[in-house]
């Protein structure tokens, strides 16, 4: 872990006794109290704490829901209604869980965009970044299976359409795709059997996520945090101890975010969902317009933009998997986009592209919507595969400050000058 003098001094005989046997308090102190954090972190750096908070919230509310939920095709829908109407505070806990999933993703998207902007994926943070992509994939799997649980019309048809993506393998090896899909379903169509196994996995995966988050934070604390300048911590004056500085900033950011979150939980809990999911699943009738949850829309737009089934599926999965290679696709020697005037334009174009794809994913798959989805899908891949490597080589960056301290003090910041 990042080397710094430990200021941990066990005070009582008991803590000394512990320290000689399992120095867990020493480790926590070293990693989360006097851990050196760059003094110039902005509010985008509070998203990490936010994500940890939401993971805990989802696990706690999820375990409570699991005490009342019944994972069978016959009872699932009614048991969720039972939670909302009869269980004491069931409405609240269910709303926190359902809206929580959305805000979890919102925080994750900001967190990822921050990493892209400040070049946080660049050496020596490649593994840290890849672990992040793994967490993102696990989150998507978890949310997808969680969304099946209320067993409404959207649940059922989302499961049908998404699991059927694997049938595209039939185009390569005839019959194999169908075998995979029937294996996932445990039958010849989506059924209660499918619901039951999704429930088991929905319970499991968040704990897998927690494990990978542990590795993610470990990797972070080995190399240290990036910061808006992209410079390394070079002298003690570049850093402040995590507690109280970073911790308090995290708490303030968290409070503001949770305020917005609470607004949704209490006043518009269904705003981010679909009315159709309050109709019980009917395997014999597809709703006229099926759309995934908002956080899947960009990928859904990519899937539909491509007229070939197999290629559409490949494009959709590679749009996410490509992120793994970003550390090597970006050839620039400057980390932070702050000092990259040309790339900055492309960065915002990329963000616009993802948002536009999200908008188009919610529209019917016809006419101009498909045309635009194709344009933006093309830019999505061009950005990662062409713009990142080429701009990195061609661009001359703006001069970098000599140190974090210099960058901060030039702006006349009131940040503490101690240490």
């Amino acid at each position: 872990m990042a080397s710094h003098e430990s200021s941990y001094r066990p005070t009582s005989r008991f803590t000394k006794w512990i320290d000689d046997r399992l120095p867990l308090p020493r480790m926590m102190h070293g990693q989360f109290v006097d851990f050196p954090t760059p003094r110039n972190l902005n509010y985008l750096w509070t998203t990490g704490g936010l994500l940890t908070f939401f993971l805990v919230i989802q696990i706690v509310t999820g375990i409570v829901l699991a005490m009342h939920y019944v994972p069978s095709a016959h009872d699932a829908f009614n048991s969720v209604e039972h939670i909302r109407r009869d269980v004491n505070y069931g409405w609240l806990i269910r709303n926190i869980h359902a809206v929580g999933a959305s805000f979890f993703f919102l925080a994750a998207y900001i967190h990822i965009a921050r990493g892209l902007y400040y070049g946080s994926y660049k050496a020596p943070r490649e593994i840290l970044w890849i672990l992040g992509v793994v967490i993102f994939l696990l989150m998507m799997a978890t949310a997808f299976m969680g969304y099946s649980l209320p067993w409404g019309q959207m649940s059922f048809w989302a499961v049908t359409v998404i699991t059927n993506l694997f049938s595209s393998v039939d185009a390569v090896i005839p019959g194999l795709g169908t075998r995979i899909v029937e294996w996932l379903w445990g039958g010849y169509a989506v059924s209660g059997t499918t619901l039951n196994r999704f429930y088991a996995l929905h319970y499991l995966l968040p704990f897998v996520i927690a494990g990978v988050v542990g590795l993610h934070i470990w990797a972070l604390h080995v190399v240290g945090q990036n910061n808006p300048t992209g410079l390394d911590i070079k002298s003690p004056s570049d850093a402040v101890p995590m507690a109280p500085f970073a911790i308090m900033k995290d708490l303030f950011g968290l409070s503001v975010f949770v305020l917005v979150f609470a607004w949704f939980v209490f006043f518009m809990p269904d705003y981010l969902g679909h009315a159709d999911n309050y109709i019980e699943a009917n395997p014999l009738s597809t709703p006229p317009h099926i759309v995934p949850e908002w956080y899947f829309l960009p990928y859904y737009a990519i899937l539909r933009a491509i007229p070939d089934k197999l290629l559409g599926v490949i494009a959709m999965f590679s749009s996410i998997l490509l992120l793994i290679f970003v550390p090597w696709l970006d050839t620039s020697r400057i980390r932070s986009t702050k000092y990259r005037p040309v790339y900055k334009i492309f960065f915002w174009l990329f963000i616009f592209t993802v948002v536009a794809l999200g908008y188009l994913g919610a529209k019917p798959a016809e006419g101009v919507y498909v045309q635009w989805a194709r344009v933006f899908t093309a830019y999505y891949f061009l950005h990662l595969l062409v713009v990142l490597p080429i701009v990195g080589v061609m661009e001359t960056g703006r001069p970098l400050p000599n140190s974090i301290t210099e960058a901060v003090l030039k702006k006349g910041s009131a940040a503490p000058k101690t240490r």
């Binding site: 048809w157 049908t160 359409v161 998404i162 699991t163 059927n164 993506l165 049938s167 039939d170 185009a171 029937e182 294996w183 996932l184 379903w185 445990g186 039958g187 010849y188 169509a189 059924s191 059997t193 196994r197 395997p283 014999l284 009738s285 597809t286 006229p288 317009h289 099926i290 539909r304 007229p307 070939d308 089934k309 559409g312 019917p364 798959a365 016809e366």
Partner: protein, 191 residues
């Protein structure tokens, strides 16, 4: 092992290789039940076949029944609909296979290969879009039937003709024809 000559394997080499092989094969074999348990179970496979009485279905009407948890479309086609289907040159079709579960995959997708001889007005299909599994519209009178008068899948816009063949959109295959036989003149058995 430096003290032994590399060419002559000794007893310890044998034990190492045997133990590794045993553990490797054992782990692979033990994995299979855990994978296979997810496949359709015995009760799901023991699929009941169903009988459907076609007498009440008038020309131009369609009914949907459920078989193996899947919707089955049964349409009593009008002579115009049959004619529209037989008229299509096979080269215009996106999927050349009849997709009839009772016929080999190679069978051309002509209308007669997707119906029963002398019963060409009856079209029996698995009502699941071959794209990503939605249920196409077109069964009820006022449904949108798509550009080719058969079925239209609203999920991602696949159009099927009056023989249930894919004509436009992302779906790769024609709607499948399930295994069925006529028991009497107006009674079919599916499965």
């Amino acid at each position: 092992m430096a003290s032994h000559s590399a060419e002559t394997p000794n007893r310890r080499d044998f034990i190492v290789i045997a133990a590794q092989a045993f553990a490797g094969v054992g782990a692979a074999v033990a994995l299979w039940p855990f994978i296979h348990q997810m496949n359709p179970d015995a009760s799901t496979q023991a699929l009941a076949s169903i009988e459907v009485d076609l007498a009440p279905v008038k020309p131009g009407q369609a009914i949907t029944v459920s078989w193996r948890g899947k919707p089955i479309f049964i349409r009593n086609r009008t002579p115009e609909e049959v004619q529209a289907a037989t008229k299509v040159p096979l080269n215009d079709l996106k999927d050349q296979s009849a997709r009839n579960d009772l016929l080999p995959e190679r069978t051309p997708a002509s209308d007669v290969n997707r119906t029963k001889r002398g019963k060409e007005n009856w079209l029996v299909l698995i009502g699941i879009c071959t794209h990503l599994g939605c249920i196409p519209k077109g069964q009820s009178m006022n449904d949108q039937k798509g550009d080719f008068g058969g079925w239209f899948c609203p999920c991602h816009g696949s159009h099927y003709d009056t023989a249930g063949r894919i004509r436009l959109g992302p779906a790769p295959q024609n709607l499948h024809v399930p295994p069925y036989e006529f028991q009497t003149d107006t009674m079919i058995k599916i499965g």
